[in-house]
Point group: C2
DNA sequence: CCGTCATTCAATGGAATAATTGAATGACGG
DNA sequence: CCGTCATTCAATTATTCCATTGAATGACGG
């Protein structure tokens, strides 16, 4: 280890954190961990990756102080070290959104830019929910829903949206949310619902942001 | 280029930004650019690095949408693309501060933890300045001071602190600030002033944060 | 105490990144 | 149009990072 002055040493520490965020798979892992603690195996299954690979990335995230590990018998449960990680994730996303035309292109391309994709804000959703004007669906898998969801939301995992919507009244607006502002599950849910003649919109972002905003969260018994 | 789904493509875009932040030298460059636009040559001189090296890092930052370039005759002036970059920098710093014991160790080690290093908050500084209770010094180089400084601050570049303090009254408190919360110049200024018998403290952070907080900035004529 | 299972470690090869050097571009002044 | 200067590009080497594989660790259940 070469001798460094304190200033360089500090920048190196900051760079360790940023570097750990600088890999698509690790970012995806963080977004999953933002939904709740996960074991290595479960995370590997969710991301369809070899367990050893996920384990190594988790080590990298742990070295950077981004995730923390807790042993529970044979299992090791990983979770985000604290809320500052979500802030950093959101800030990086913010730079990308504002500066990289590519992000805009991807999002628009995904939805074909065919009609208004104006998302519902958290504030607006709270008002609509209070007045009973909309049906709120959480399109994440059941296990993530169980760990915490918006009060009043119904869990309709993405694969079941079509079947569920058969029983829903046409005309009543549906709002969908999932893991975060770029989580594609809510995009797909809204697209499917609209194709079936429903009025549907996305919440502007997802569960981690809802919780980070200090809004109430309901946990399954 | 392999075929990717939109979700992966988005994570890749986000990773580009984080990866660009994941190098100590680039972080230091960002902190300098946060003080104002700089040409490649000036930046290289400030960081004591070969021009070509800085140029390449600037290209990397530009590809990530972090800095923008503006040609002015023979010179190219680089500056931060927008304020979201400062947010991202601060967020990464926040993770490092909270999670990496190493950061704390470095800062403490730098000051030997011998007495209270409680910094002055922005709010407190504004009150002290309004009541005329402190002398505020900006220890950055003169060119950075000229591009914007806290109203009422005196520019005392680090190398001149000792000479300047000879004329300062003992007993009146001095507050020093520079480029940001980890900028070591203010640490050194405070250490030097205290060694000379003055009462001195640091502002909690520096110029970019002051500006980002929407507080008034004074620019040299 | 032994088998099983979740996780981590170690070693490999291949890809990306970084610093350095020297040459190439592009704009200004004469 | 030519020399100068700021900047960028290209090529090289050393380093680091990444995915994969198979073996090692550590804890539980019998």
């Amino acid at each position: 280890m070469s001798i460094r002055n304190p200033k360089q040493a500090l920048y190196e520490q900051f760079a360790i954190v940023a570097k750990a965020l600088g890999h698509p798979l690790r970012l995806e892992m963080i977004e999953h961990l933002a939904q709740g603690a996960r074991s290595v195996e479960v995370l590997a299954a969710k991301l369809a990756r070899p367990v050893a690979n996920i384990s190594q990335h988790l080590q990298a995230l742990r070295r950077a102080g981004i995730v923390s590990a807790e042993r529970d018998g044979k299992f090791v449960h990983y979770s985000l070290a604290d809320d500052s990680v979500l802030s950093a994730f959101a800030a990086v996303r913010g730079v990308a959104e504002r500066q990289l035309a590519e992000v805009d292109r991807i999002v628009r391309g995904y939805f074909d830019a065919r009609d208004d994709m104006q998302p519902v804000t958290r504030r607006e959703l709270r008002r609509l929910m209070r007045d009973g004007l909309v049906t709120l669906i959480d399109v994440r898998p059941a296990d993530e829903f169980a760990l915490g969801h918006v009060p009043g939301a119904i869990n309709v995992p993405l694969g079941k949206v079509r079947a569920w919507s058969a029983d829903a009244a046409i005309g009543r607006e549906i709002v969908a949310y999932c893991r975060g502002p770029w989580c594609v599950m809510s995009f797909e849910a809204v697209a499917a619902l609209r194709a079936l003649g429903h009025s549907a919109r996305r919440l502007e972002d997802g569960m981690p942001e809802w919780k980070a905003a200090g809004l109430p969260v309901e946990v399954a018994a």
